[in-house]
């Protein structure tokens, strides 16, 4: 089992806190909206990912548990 970050793109307003707290997996595009690295959150970044999810002012992020076998590179 692993976690993947999901972003509700309609909620997201580009505050950018997620990229500050989890730069290993999240970059911002030219307008400040997140670009997410594909795949599950590596074990050693789990705590940072939780903090990034909790910090989002519009609650646009969540962690979704995925079975290792069906991890998707990108959300379909």
């Amino acid at each position: 089992m692993a976690d993947e970050i999901r972003i509700d793109r309609i909620r997201c307003d580009g505050h950018g806190l997620c990229a500050e707290l989890l730069p290993e997996l999240i970059e911002l595009d030219d307008w400040g909206y997140p670009l997410l690295a594909p795949g599950p959150v590596p074990e050693h970044l789990r705590e940072h990912a939780r903090q990034a999810v909790a910090a989002c002012p519009v609650v646009a992020l969540r962690l979704e548990r995925v079975a290792a076998a069906i991890q998707s590179g990108r959300r379909a």
């Binding site: 793109r9 309609i10 909620r11 997201c12 595009d29 030219d30 909206y33 959300r75």
Partner: protein, 411 residues
Amino acid sequence: MRSPVGLLDGPPPAAGAEGLASHEARLGRLPVGSEAQGLIPMLEASGLQGRGGAGFPVGRKWRSVAERSGGRAVVLANGAEGELLSMKDRTLMAARPHLVLDGALLAAEAVGAERIALYVGQEHTAASASLRRAITERGGEVMRRAGVVVAPSGYVSGEATAAVRYLNKGVALPTSTPPRPFEQGVGGRPTLVQNVESLALSALVARFGDAWYREAGRRPAAGPALVTVSGPVARPGVHEIALGTTVSELVAAAGGLQAHVQAALIGGYFGAWLPSEQALALSLDPAALRARGVAFGCGVVAFLPAAVCGVAATADIISYMAAASARQCGPCLFGLRAIAEATGRLAGGTPAPEDLVRISRWSAQLPGRGGCRHPDGAAGLMRSALEVFAEEFSLHQRGACQHGAPQRKAA
């Protein structure tokens, strides 16, 4: 290349709506009760895939609604047809309203739905008038359950969650998923959102069986399909083909090309450009197209004359797509707008340094970053343009054009 029974068999579509008597004389009555019960497995066995653009298997979609419905589901027949290059849904609804209605009634029976909403694009007035008349012709029971809902103009109005939201809240913009419409749709009920051509085909499968459907295609493809051809052909417009037909055969059926063409847009504004020789050799088989990274989409085949600049044609499309954004998600609103502006500068002979490089980067960043697939579709179109018109794009970055002075094609 036509199958023995097709969607547009019978009186010529230009003659207007086929009435109930003619429809039933030609195709027989709608199977009901126990006959209709076996329809979901039959649709699964047929291999019928949705014709709205995404190509999702129809039987599996019906089953997922049926499993949750408890008899309280809703059928939303999608005839919004916001795709500018597509005419097939409005043509089908206008000419064969009873076949569409048959499909919607069978779907309602199979998934356990009471209410049927026929969601028809605002501009498609002949289609909505024809469906309304057809409902009246069916009388009491159908009149009580089914009704036409006029969909507001706009490319995204026909997106499944946007259609559901319009029925719920009067706003035809996509919503975040989950929940998807089959889980929680109109009035919170499990909702089957199904394109009108898919419903009409389901009504033919119910009558003639899944083997008929498979044989109506050209192996390995299955089924007939409506496609819309545009560009310099003798008879542009809607044509019915057996899936698996090649684009060059379709062109022959449309009376042949009347000018040199350089490329074709396959699948519509969500589709991809291909150089014309490659496009003509293509087999219009959704699975084969997918394997080549091309989507059958809603069956659009649009030719670009050799005399028209591919950069200018792409600028027109991408600026339309940017304007059509629901403006709910930043990457789509800002990213698509920036791509459209840069492409417009290139097309108009006023390139900014690095425009081409930035278009390429932004297009690569867009997929998967919207609440719906609008940015994915537009980015795919853009990436295909950069590939097919690569030479022309580099010329434009230097302020030149193979077609004379760079100039935006008049809209």
